[in-house]
């Protein structure tokens, strides 16, 4: 234990003098500013709508159709066909609606970019029918929720909804970057050789790095989270998720780092690893996109667990799902210790 403590103290000193603590604090503050002042509260990824009114006395129909959305950023009015096309050109995520005919015989033309699937086109058609009152919500169906859980009434502001993603990429996955530099620093200084001729164990040497990176992750979490969402989150659960997640990501990165000697060699694998483990962020923002190859990634569970801890009640992924992550972390760490034991003697 004393050796683990000594190794941890060494890593803390090295991390401090390499400005890692400053980096974490700086990034947390930068993200707070980004989330609070730059990212809007009410953004959705739904397309912009560009409307062209070719209908006689169409302004009343427009008012009925779009009502309160008339002032929205996402609704634009085109002067003519050419203007419609040009506006849609500039906004790649937009859809055009042309009002035709007359009040007695209204008609619509839905103008798509060209890549939209047939399903999307049909659903938009239904949406227009609903707005015109042609399609009414029928009484012929009920809604049933699994596990007696009702949806969260209050929508989470878009900017704050970024927080679990930021916690995952910076607090949990911080180790994925920094541990490479820590290992390569020691390889280039050959201090790992000096350590090898002491009774110090490999697990104490690597364990200290895992601990310090978890500390940095916790620091980041404790700075950013209260600034963004105050005292709402379940902090105990949140910190546990960060520590378990950080242990896993650092251990995996340690295994990879053992095969390289410097940063330029390992840069692409390092970024590749971060990219793969960061993929579940797509599911986070686009819930409809959660194929099996994303769901099997441990960061998928971690990300949604973070969401549950930061916004209690928003999701049903609790602490129990962390057992598997903790086990994966323990296995990864064990593998890292074995790999280092082999490679230190080889080199």
């Amino acid at each position: 234990m004393m050796r683990l403590a000594a190794n941890t103290l060494k890593e803390l000193r090295l991390g401090w003098r390499s400005y890692y603590f400053l980096l974490v604090v700086g990034v947390a503050i930068a993200y707070f500013l980004l989330v609070t002042f730059l990212i809007p509260e009410d953004l959705t990824v739904s397309p912009d709508v560009v409307v062209l009114n070719e209908m006689e006395e169409g302004s009343q129909v427009m008012e009925n159709l779009f009502g309160g959305d008339m002032e929205s950023d996402k609704l634009l009015l085109a002067k003519d066909r050419d203007d419609l096309e040009k506006t849609m050109n500039r906004r790649f995520n937009s859809v055009g609606i042309v009002l035709k005919g007359s009040i007695r015989e209204p008609g619509f033309e839905l103008v798509f970019q060209g890549h939209e699937s047939q399903d999307i086109r049909e659903l938009l058609r239904l949406s227009i029918l609903q707005r015109t009152g042609t399609l009414r919500s029928e009484e012929g169906y009920n809604i049933e929720y699994l596990e007696d859980r009702k949806p969260v009434d209050e929508a989470i502001p878009f900017n704050k909804s970024f927080l679990p993603v930021l916690l995952m990429s910076e607090a949990v996955m911080l180790g994925m970057f920094l541990v490479f530099a820590m290992i390569f620093g020691e390889k280039s200084e050959e201090t790992i050789k000096a350590y090898s001729i002491t009774p110090g164990r490999i697990w104490e040497y690597l364990g200290a790095k895992v601990i310090v990176l978890a500390i940095l992750g916790v620091l980041f979490t404790l700075i950013l989270t209260p600034m963004v969402v105050g005292i709402g989150p379940r902090y105990g659960e949140l910190l546990l998720i960060v520590v378990v997640g950080s242990t896993l990501s650092t251990s995996i990165a340690l295994i990879f780092a053992s095969f390289y000697n410097n940063l330029s060699q390992s840069l692409v694998p390092m970024l590749g690893l971060s990219l793969v483990f960061g993929l579940p962020m797509i599911s986070f923002f686009i819930p409809g996109f959660s194929p099996w190859y994303l769901r099997i990634l441990p960061t998928y569970t971690i990300l949604f667990a973070l969401k549950g801890a930061v916004f209690p009640g928003s999701i049903q992924v609790g602490i129990s799902s962390l057992w598997l992550i903790a086990l994966e972390g323990a296995i990864a760490f064990t593998i890292a210790v074995l790999v280092y034991g082999q490679r230190v003697r080889k080199n």
Partner: protein, 336 residues
């Protein structure tokens, strides 16, 4: 300027990169990323809601298929299991003469709304007195391809820049650079020799991305121009990291900050509405992204395009000027 010396430095870089397999990684990684984007693109394009329907509801499945993906499962229990797996997946079955929509509870409000629309259309029979036609502008490049293509090109020159930076740090640590500094190689020759890879590789990646995404009819000249001008961003960033960082550890910390400055604006600008994008006007990579997007959507006219190139150059130049003091002090330590 001695071209032979410049080419010699380029040859040394290539040799080092080849030996370290860095060259293979740098060449392959963006290509692999392009292929990944290409592979997941169909999943994105069919992104609406998924209905999960028991096999006994065959007719319902046919009707719902008009509006969404429909997955058939054995029975109600299997349907509930599928819904519980998450995402915007909604189960439907009939019970007591009514349809029941089964949700987990974490579906997005849009998904719930669309599901209710679809089931209402089925119930009502989807006949309509209103004439609704479809047309399109023939722009078959979906948003994910747009984003993927731009991201790959930007990543390519950013990656090149980072590698330049880390090579410099390693030479500092080994002392190899001091040997070069006592030869007739001038700073300009050194810079140019180092930059050749940083410019040529992104062009290769951009052209390969066009092939892999099978994007026809692109203005290749504009694409090459924006790639070349944007590559300077990566080179400048790389030199900054290399010169300012005293060790691999601080190099990585500086790289993290660079990722925030270079890649984050691109990722956020993709989802921000146009009227809010002014917050990223300081970012050279934002302008690269804007130019690439216009090229892909075929809305890039020469006047606007050249203005974008000018903005890329100006913002990169401003960044360089802003960091000039740090570069000077970093170079002094480099030489000593």
């Amino acid at each position: 300027m001695n071209v032979r010396r410049v080419l010699n430095i380029f040859r040394l870089d290539t040799l080092n990169s080849r030996r370290d397999k860095v060259m293979i990684y740098t060449l392959l990684a963006p290509i692999i990323l392009t292929i990944v984007f290409k592979l997941i693109s169909p999943d994105f394009q069919s992104l609406s809601i998924d209905f999960i329907v028991p096999e006994s509801e065959a007719e319902l499945a046919v009707q719902l298929d008009r509006y969404a993906n429909v997955e058939k499962v054995a029975g109600i229990r299997e349907m509930k299991d599928a819904v519980a797996r998450g995402g915007d997946r909604i189960g439907v079955y009939e019970s007591g003469g009514k349809y029941v929509l089964v949700m987990q509870g974490d579906e997005s409000p849009q998904a719930r709304e669309l599901a209710e629309l679809a089931i209402s259309a089925v119930l009502q029979g989807d006949t309509s007195l209103i004439n609704i036609d479809f047309s399109d502008n023939g722009r078959v490049i979906p948003p994910v391809t747009l984003f993927g293509f731009s991201f790959v090109v930007i990543l390519s020159f950013t990656l090149g820049g980072f590698i330049i930076g880390f090579n410099i740090i390693e030479e500092k640590e080994s002392g190899a650079m001091r040997a070069l500094m006592v030869t007739p190689v001038s700073k300009a020759e050194f810079l140019l020799g180092r930059s050749i890879m940083g410019i040529s590789v992104p062009i290769i990646h951009a052209l390969l991305a066009v092939l892999i995404f099978a994007i026809g009819g692109l203005d290749i000249l504009k694409l090459i121009m924006v790639t070349v001008v944007s590559s300077v961003i990566g080179i400048v960033m790389g030199f900054l990291i290399g010169v300012m960082s005293s060790s691999q550890m601080t190099g990585l910390a500086n790289m993290k900050i660079s990722v925030l400055l270079l890649l984050m604006p691109v990722m956020i600008a993709f989802v921000l509405p146009e009227n809010r994008q002014f917050i990223f006007y300081w970012s050279p990579t934002y302008w690269s992204f804007a130019a690439l997007k216009d090229i892909l959507t075929r809305s890039a006219e020469w006047g606007g395009f050249l203005l974008q190139l000018l903005w890329i150059s100006l913002t990169t130049g401003l960044l360089f000027l802003f960091m000039r003091g740090k570069i000077k002090s970093g170079l002094k330590t480099y030489q000593s």
